[in-house]
């Protein structure tokens, strides 16, 4: 029994180590002081990269573009996706079943295919689309929407339909019912889905690369610069993103723990 227990613990540690090693290297090399243009060999420890994180030309701009697109496309996709989920779950309309399936397509189609077809579409309609910021935005909204729809839909199906009827019964019109009952109940699902969507947006390279034109998001910038140099500041930004993600995840766990304690405890 004890031996088995130890074996399991060791195994778990090994797996976690395997997962964490690349990230540890990224963080470690954000403190490196490389001699040449490539940050591949450990030379010495420094805080300079963190202090001057935006020294490489274009890095700051690409990061701002990434954040702008991430926030904008997540907000728009969350609103659109929630409305689609509400329509699919709450209303019977022609094409309900097929929209249920179509929503999955962006999730299951290879990104490279999506990126290429989107570019083909945008190029054919140059009268409407200028390849750049807004085409990236459109592409990101498209793939985030799927995640929002799927998550919010699951939540809507999970909660008692009579709750909305009860609200109407007590005198709430459709808008008030949504504001007071439906929204508070699906908000956690919307938040979880939009965090995931935001992360996907910040991270996306393949689709973005196709439809970016001259615009540079952070991943596109890293790809571009990697052929001539790898400034340690790239590691700094990557580490920072990782730390923010960790903080959000921890905050989420803490929040859930606290609210479940509040529900059980107060009596």
């Amino acid at each position: 029994m004890r031996v088995k227990h130890h074996l399991l613990t060791t195994y778990a540690m090994l797996v976690i180590g395997y997962l964490m090693l690349p990230i540890a290297v990224v963080i470690l090399f954000s403190f490196n002081e490389p001699e040449g243009r490539f940050n591949y060999v450990w030379q010495g420890f420094t805080f300079d990269n963190w202090a001057n994180w935006d020294a490489p030309i274009g890095l700051r701009e690409s990061m701002i573009t990434s954040l702008e697109i991430g926030v904008l496309s997540t907000v728009v996709a969350t609103i659109l996706g929630t409305m689609i989920a509400l329509a699919i779950v709450r209303h019977h309309f022609r094409g309900r079943a097929s929209s249920n399936v179509l929503v999955f397509l962006p999730m299951s189609t290879p990104e490279i295919v999506l990126g290429a077809s989107l570019l083909a579409l945008f190029i054919q309609q140059t009268g409407i689309f200028v390849i750049g910021f807004w085409t990236i935005f459109i592409a990101h909204v498209m793939f985030i929407v799927s995640y929002i729809v799927v998550t919010v839909k699951a939540r809507l199906i999970g909660f008692d339909r009579h709750l909305e009827e009860a609200a109407a019964d007590l005198g709430a019109d459709e808008l008030t019912t949504f504001r007071k009952v439906t929204f508070p109940l699906i908000a956690p699902a919307m938040l979880a889905a939009s965090l995931l969507g935001f992360a996907l947006s910040i991270d996306d390279f393949v689709i973005t690369y196709f439809v970016a034109g001259g615009e540079q998001t952070f991943p596109v910038y890293v790809w571009g610069i990697a052929r001539v140099a790898t400034p340690p500041q790239v590691n700094v930004v990557a580490s920072a993103i990782f730390l923010v993600a960790i903080a959000v995840a921890l905050g989420n766990v803490l929040w859930q723990y606290r609210s479940s304690r509040r529900q059980r405890g107060a009596a």
Binding site: A168, D169, L170, L185
Partner: protein, 368 residues
């Protein structure tokens, strides 16, 4: 509490029909619920009780017919414009709000002043015995307590009519009995008209002053519990409300029926003719040894001969199962002397009962 019949009814249904695609859930229902009544819709699963209630509440629109609340035709009005409130079977308490917030939801929609609202919420929570639970969340309450909150949340608005869809269905037997009396007390106290849906005949009889027995989307019979029990109008009602013995026969005269074994019994035929079933409740039958002259044909009683096949002592009575030529007859004999005079199995007995306790219904060709 029941007002005179000159006042307009609180709820009126006129030939209401509801079809879902090809199922007919409600098949032409007309009824009136007077102000202050405790009205029960009673019937087996799938007979259209919930659908009827949901049409009154505004969650379904009738395919045909009219629904009136007071003088107002409410067909087409959304639920939030109807002066009725519903207690849902699942309670449907808002899980993200406290009990007090749940209860004040309806008052807030009506823009009741903050100061008045607090008092009314406290008052109604007190009425249902949950005065100190206002700050809890619904999941921190037991099923019975949640049920009371659902009731308080609806009652606090003083609706014209309160609709209850099997509100006690999820409670255990003991709590259900307790809540039945409690509901009746609360209804007396607030004086609001209750329309109560249930498939439990005992519950309907305990609480309601008028019962509409439904079957297959129609009303079989409507009246006070006592009338339905003593003089059921159809075999379905006779079988659904309590136990009854139905003996096949043919109308013989204005007040006589010839049973299929040749026995003549007297009963109110009420204009029927041809093949019928004669009914009698098990507790109305006197049982005695065959040939006992004391029991015999005393003062025009109906008489039937049989053999005891089984007896079961059940405390308040002894159930005797008697084989007759017309089939099995159940008798509840009073245990006046500790049940010692009950004829033992395999003994020949004579059953007698008075014509007043006899009812006649059409033969049940639509047996369920």
């Amino acid at each position: 509490m029941v007002e005179t019949s000159t006042a307009t009814a609180d709820v009126t249904l006129e030939s209401v029909v509801k079809r879902f695609d090809d199922t007919v859930a409600v098949d032409g229902i007309s009824l009136e619920v007077p102000h202050g009544a405790f009205f029960a819709l009673l019937g087996p699963s799938g007979c259209g009780k919930t659908t009827t209630l949901r049409m009154i509440g505004g969650f379904e629109e009738p395919t045909e017919g009219r629904i009136m609340l007071g003088d107002e035709d409410v067909v087409g009005l959304p639920p939030y414009k109807r002066d009725v409130n519903t207690v849902f079977q699942s309670y449907a308490l808002f899980p993200h709000m406290t009990i007090a917030e749940n209860v004040s939801f309806g008052l807030e929609r009506r823009k009741v002043a903050r100061s008045e609202l607090k008092g009314r919420v406290r008052e109604i929570l007190e009425l249902v015995g949950l005065g100190q639970f206002g700050s809890r969340k619904p999941r921190q309450l037991s099923g019975g307590q949640q049920q009371r909150v659902a009731l308080a949340r609806a009652l606090v608005n003083h609706p014209r009519v309160l609709l209850l869809d099997e509100p006690l269905g999820a409670l255990d037997l003991k709590l259900r009995k307790q809540m039945q009396l409690e509901l009746k007390r609360i209804q007396h106290e607030v004086g609001i008209t209750f329309v109560h849906v249930t498939h439990d005949q005992e519950e309907a009889m305990t609480m309601a002053d008028t019962i509409a027995v439904m079957n297959r989307g129609r009303i079989e019979q409507l009246g006070p519990p006592q009338d339905l029990y003593e003089q059921p109008g159809t075999a379905f009602v006779a079988g659904f409300l309590g136990v009854s013995n139905l003996l096949p026969g043919v109308i013989e005269g204005p007040n006589a029926v010839r049973l299929d074994d040749g026995t003549i019994v007297s009963a109110h035929v009420s204009g029927r003719s041809g093949a019928v079933a004669v009914g009698v409740r098990p507790e109305k039958i006197a049982i005695g040894p065959a040939g006992d002259p004391a029991i015999g044909a005393a003062r025009g009683s109906n008489v039937l001969a049989g053999t005891v096949s089984e007896t079961a002592y059940i405390g308040v009575a002894t159930e005797v199962v008697v084989e007759t030529q017309l089939g099995v007859v159940h008798v509840f004999a009073q245990n006046i002397d500790s049940g010692r005079t009950i004829p033992p199995p395999r003994s020949s007995v004579t059953l007698t009962w008075s014509p007043e306790s006899t009812f006649v219904v059409d033969r049940d060709d639509s047996a369920d």
